[in-house]
Symmetry: C2
Subunit: 169 residues, 2 copies
DNA sequence: GTCTATACCCGGATAGAC
DNA sequence: GTCTATCCGGGTATAGAC
């Protein structure tokens, strides 16, 4: 059920997530959905949570990979940045749904937000200012890329490198 | 006319900009608007252009102020960052309208996009990677702040400082 | 849990008179 | 350039039968 909603969002963007469309996807009628969710917001909350968890998993995996083999020349922060970018770009619409708009913090499963933040905090030795700066940079890069804001043919990989290298110190 | 639209957006967000609401604001009926604009998208384009120009002006002003008195201890990039943040936060909804969603580049007045980018490019000596990294950082900080994504009571000024100082080198 | 039927609201946009 | 009258589509959500 949430899977279908996720599919809709990923395929056609957050705006395509309507109760009718979701019902169609499931082969049922829209009113039936209200036996499973109180309202549409509840569906969105599920998706936002899902997006956060996936981000967390992507970062945790990168962390672990790096711990096993602190790969040549690269740094942990770079590994996290690469993972963040790759994850976001594999489902840009879900990323937008989960990161744009204010967080429904009270409705989210306990600890998801923190879990998604932990890998970066660890990589920054809990220097909060640094962590927030890196986070803002990464989110900015991703969102500007997704929205097609950078000029045609800009070398974004180089920009990522420049940013992370600078912020690393 | 565009002023009224801007007022609507700033007061209640981009979603509040409807042809009916805009007409109300002007004391006319909705259909009359179509004598002035072909459709709603045209109104939005005007607002996006307006937002970009204002950003450009804010940055240019900061640039000039700095040129006149290269203020004690601070740097040009810091001055631009401060101006960017202040400008965005004085009309957050307009900022979102202008920076979220893909740019209607073809419909925009010639050169606006470039003009908004120039101060930063100059400050970065046209090191494009650096400029893009700074841009992403600044946009990320602003949008995360507007959306209430940072934890309650986070010291964002410190995060700005940390980011800009690092990216400056 | 599913259906049909429907209420309700709101949006963009057009036709045609004045 | 403004109006009235409308069309049309789309959304969320509820009532009540099966």
């Amino acid at each position: 059920m949430v899977d279908a909603a996720r599919g809709l969002v990923e395929k056609s963007g957050p705006a395509a997530l309507t109760m009718r469309a979701l019902a169609d996807e499931l082969g049922i009628k829209a009113p039936s959905l209200y036996k499973h969710f109180p309202d549409k917001a509840a569906v969105e909350v599920e998706l936002i949570a899902l997006g956060l968890v996936e981000t967390a998993q992507a970062l945790e995996a990168a962390e672990e990979r790096y711990a096993r083999s602190p790969s040549g020349g690269s740094t942990l922060l770079t590994a996290l940045a690469d993972a963040y970018r790759a994850d976001a770009l594999t489902h840009p619409h879900l990323y937008c749904l989960a990161t744009e708009g204010p967080l429904p913090r009270h409705a989210l499963p306990e600890g998801v937000e923190e879990r998604a933040a932990m890998p970066l905090l660890r990589a920054c030795d809990f220097d909060m200012d640094k962590a927030r700066a890196v986070w803002a940079f990464a989110h900015g890069m991703v969102i500007l890329e997704i929205r097609g804001r950078f000029p045609e043919g800009a070398d974004l990989t180089a920009a990522w490198r420049a940013g992370i290298e600078a912020l690393e110190r």
